[in-house]
Symmetry: C2
Subunit: 247 residues, 2 copies
């Protein structure tokens, strides 16, 4: 028995590519995303009754991965290269590339919903929305195995004075006003993303630690440049992208 899944809609989120999309829902409570449903699913009817729920599950497809090549063990990025069985992880590289994320439901429109806290890349196809039911879904005292051993990889994130001033000056032109009221809040959030150490495993080689490689975070309508040396990160610069502003 095989099962064909079709997208019911698409998400619009500030994360423009996979790099640095947060691995923890807790880090991204601030971020608003909009899910727009295909007309054929009659959202004005099929979303009725959802308004009483504070949270919903999103089922979505890891559309940026090629999952044809099954690997039984994977290296979770926060576990210092140690491998785990794929079913003991939430790795996107799994037999059926389906993800689930619980998010806060903020608003319901005629053909869309607004949610907060989604860890989805912009334009990710959405497969399903289900109400979050605490009676079934919430197990506060569940044990979370090897994840309890994970520690933060970066001790401190700093920002260059130059870059900080630029953020203050340009804040009105950054597409983040729905999520942050000033540049300090935004910088705090970006620092938290970097604190999770989004570098791919191969860039963490300690023999390279003296090389200050620049990483780029593509988010909202700007690019953020930072580097990491030893266990310290520095936000070095940011650049507004050209082209029409996203609405």
């Amino acid at each position: 028995m095989e099962l064909l899944c079709k997208p019911i809609g698409k998400i619009k989120s500030p994360f423009k590519n996979k790099f640095a999309v947060p691995r923890q829902a807790g880090l991204i409570k601030e971020i608003h995303s909009k899910i727009t449903f295909n007309k054929s699913y009659q959202p004005s009817l099929s979303l009725q009754g959802l308004e009483g729920f504070s949270h919903v599950w999103i089922l979505w497809g890891f559309h940026l991965n090629n999952s044809d090549n099954f690997k039984a063990k994977v290296s979770p990025p926060r576990f210092e290269g140690k491998k785990q069985g794929v079913f003991a992880t939430r790795s996107p590289h799994r037999p059926n590339p389906i993800a689930m994320s619980v998010v806060e439901l903020v608003d319901i429109g005629p053909d869309h919903i607004w949610v907060k806290g989604a860890d989805l890349v912009d334009k990710t196809p959405i497969l399903d929305i289900k109400p979050y039911i605490p009676e079934y879904d919430s197990i506060p005292d569940a044990r979370s195995g090897w994840l309890e051993l994970v520690r933060e990889s970066i001790d401190e994130v700093n920002i260059s004075m130059n870059c900080k001033t630029k953020f203050d000056d340009y804040f009105e032109r950054i597409d983040a006003q729905k999520d942050f009221i000033n540049s300090d809040q935004l910088i705090g959030f970006l620092s938290n993303l970097i604190k999770e150490d989004p570098r791919p495993m191969q860039s963490r080689d300690s023999s390279k630690e003296n090389v200050k490689e620049d990483f780029v975070l593509d988010i909202y309508n700007f690019e953020l440049f930072f580097h990491i040396k030893d266990r310290m990160a520095e936000i070095r610069d940011f650049k507004l992208k050209r082209g029409p502003r996203a609405s």
Copy 2:
């Protein structure tokens, strides 16, 4: 973008068909089920690291439904016929027939896991196993909308003396010893299943309430016969099934 899902394994559970499979995880904490993985997914490797987790998510397919015929609104059985938008429910009749259930992880073998609390029909294809991570997944104070208005439909479940005696006499021959230590426990569990009122909507027509229709619950290796009149249910009889005992 369409996405083809293939089963990674199959579940063996005491629920032999859809009728009366519990709608609440809380009701079925006692029930053990076994998920056996296809060899091609190398379970001896791909399950490594799972042993530290107390709970796992199962993603599975509603294989008994034909979902080609999309309906934007559905009638949740416990909501007295009132309709809700499909995305405000966990109804199996949805655009992508994928379900998620959180269960307790009891044991891990070379090609299988034992879980407790699964609400899956025997032989349901399994699509994925993901660790339950309370830090992401547990929101104890989430609001659950219209579900907060649902009330139990059956006031009382009784059992005929004759049937009770038969349960005591036959308990050793019922395939439920892994889950219950005596017939009283088993009867208590069956009563809870019936208390949820598993009748389809069309059988709840109050004009028919005088007709004592028999319903059959196909579970473990026996069939349970009960009827419901007004808001009272009675367990009338049970019958061991013929054929080889399930192992």
